[in-house]
Amino acid sequence: MKIALCSSFAPFIHGGSRNIVEWLQVKLQEAGHQVERIYLPQVDVPDLLFVQMMAYRWVDLASSADRIICFRPPAHMIPHPQKIVWFIHHIRVFYDLWDSSYRGFPDDAKHRSVRDALHAADTAALNEARHIFTNSQVVSNRLMHYNKVGSEVLYPPIYHPDQFLCRSFNDEIVYISRIEHHKRQHLLIEALRHTRTAVKLRLCGIGASETYVNDLKSLIVAAKLGSRIIFENRWISEAEKVQTLSDCLAAAYLPLDEDSYGYPSLEASHSSKPILTTTDAGGVLELVQDGINGLVTEPDPRALAEAMDRFYLNRAMTQQMGQNASARLRELNISWSHVLERLLS
């Protein structure tokens, strides 16, 4: 088939959704399809939304592509008789983040009219699609709530799952992710202070905010935990990630209310390691089930500390949970073959 993968982008900014599109392209090509990747510009400014949405309406792929798959909005505005949408997120400041500090414009009549018109336009465009998929139940719920549109959850796999392996279980709980306030590495550092065992922590990654990174460093120093925390504040290569996960005790991933489970959870699962997360982590809970493939605690340092000690003390449980984590992937059908089968049906 000739398949066009359509998404919006901001030049020189590499968002998460680029991975999904680019990895999917490779997998589709490996399966013998011809794939064209179409990235068109988009800025989320209220006054400019509709002009840009109209531009996307004029993208004409009907005679060149057998099927199109649309990702980041307003790509779903592109018309096509075989339109598939893999919906990653709305322009959230006009939806669930309307009543939040993220909305950078006033809640006045003009902006409300843009919001209402956007909801209606999104709904109309989504209803043109043959199938709508989302990357998590959280997003599916939002689609139903705001646009009254049904969707199927299709979990995005990581690119090279096969490279991950399980080798041993050391004393480290690792958190490999962007270093950002809403990823809450600070909570884990706090938690370590309350642990009673010799469990250790390894934080890996880089962040955009120097302030937060410095805050974490100060926190480590102030807590006198220097010997038990390793802070690798640099870009981590895939190979390093594989190694670190293969030997760790467990992986932590506790972002605040994130839409999807996140690649770190997936990577840990492929490495057959359990995941430590919190009740308010959002989409992570679609993957992690408390007591089965990980531990889900209150977002509180002491509760987290208890969980960390449990991983340390009860190695049999930890290993079993790790195996369950791997099985959970099959249970949820998180694989490229499943993705292709669904997208191409």
């Binding site: 901001a10 109209m54 004029w58």
Partner: protein, 345 residues
């Protein structure tokens, strides 16, 4: 600087312009810039779609971009305060092809209205661009004639000059490039029939259509030269092509009235091979001077046969012509670093 290269996209089709855009991006990065490529799907059939495609491009918002380098209509309509054009193509069906009656614009008022729209939009774009370059003299002349704007010719460099290192000289004449009537490979076969029996010819390249290949083969048979010519008529990998060029004694390139210099001639010159061409070949005459950097003869089999005879012997004279061709080409400075420097002025 953050540079966005903006080009058209004909979905699932990849040609010379696409290669150029990718190499432009690559060399911008080598020169120290951030560079990304925006490819905008363009559907011009039927012609009544064209207004919507123009409006679509006009609607795009580009933020976080310092410079735009745009290559074709309608991609170059995109809005940006610092836009440089490297004109590969206007919509010729509104201009010279319109005059020649080879257009998809209907003959009625509607067609005229579309043509007018294109002209006005083009004029606006040319006015608002900081600089205009064209990829050939002919494109420059067309721009001046139809739109009244001046431009500077900036010839597209070879993408991989390092592959054409020359080295050996195995006694054959190599004729590369696409196989079609305009490229006149048939003339070479006719000349071969009149040339001394020791002259060897290699013709290699992708035929535009299967008939172009079969016609050539039949001609070789009927002229009785099939044993002296190798017809390798297919798309060649760069390394295969480079092999043919590097090991030849001379090259031949004699299209009818072509506007640009042609990659074939540049590849030959890079490899220090003299070039056989004809006096009506067009742009290539900027590089090939008779008995200085090659042979310029009349487009007749007898004249060509004499050139072929000379060109296939590995004499000092022939080698010196090749060296001179290379020097001339180097002096023309058609390199990527020079190109980037001009574009980014």
């Amino acid at each position: 600087m953050k540079v966005l290269v903006v080009n058209n996209m004909a979905p699932f089709i990849w040609g010379g312009a696409e290669e150029l855009a990718v190499h432009l991006q690559k060399h911008l990065i080598i020169a120290g810039h951030d560079a990304e490529l925006l490819r905008i799907p363009f559907q011009w059939e039927p012609a009544t779609r064209i207004p919507s495609q123009m409006l679509m491009v006009k609607a795009f918002e580009l933020w976080n971009v310092d410079r735009v380098i745009a290559l074709k209509f309608p991609a170059y309509l995109i809005r940006h305060p610092h836009k440089t054009l490297w004109l590969l193509h206007q919509y010729r069906q509104a201009y010279d092809l319109f005059d020649a009656g080879q257009t998809n614009l209907p003959e009625d008022q509607a067609g005229q209205a579309i043509q007018q729209l294109i002209k006005q939009a083009d004029g606006e774009t040319f006015r608002e661009s900081r600089r205009i370059f064209t990829n050939s003299e002919v494109t420059r002349q067309r721009l001046a004639h139809y739109n009244g704007f001046d431009a500077e010719v900036l010839l597209p460099p070879l993408n991989d000059p390092e592959q054409f290192s020359g080295a050996t000289s195995e006694g054959y004449i190599f004729a590369g490039g696409r196989i079609n009537e305009m490229k006149r490979q048939y003339l070479l076969l006719e000349a071969l029939a009149l040339a001394p029996r020791n002259v060897r010819l290699v013709i290699a390249g992708p035929p535009d259509a299967p008939e172009d290949a079969s016609r050539l083969r039949k001609l070789a048979e009927s002229l009785g030269v099939a044993d002296r010519v190798k017809l390798d008529l297919r798309f060649l990998a760069r390394s295969e092509l480079a092999e043919y060029v590097n090991r030849a004694t001379s090259c031949a390139y004699l299209p009818y009235n072509e506007d640009s210099l042609g990659y074939v001639a540049m590849e030959a010159a890079a490899a220090a091979k003299p070039v056989i061409t004809t006096c009506d070949s067009g742009g290539v005459l900027g590089l090939v001077l008779h008995r200085q950097t090659g042979w310029v003869v009349s487009p007749e089999p007898q004249a060509l046969a004499e050139a072929l005879a000379q060109a296939s012997t590995n004499t000092t004279f022939v080698r010196e012509l090749g060296v001179a061709a290379r020097e001339r080409w180097l002096r023309m400075g058609i390199t990527w670093p020079n190109t980037i420097a001009r574009l980014m002025l």
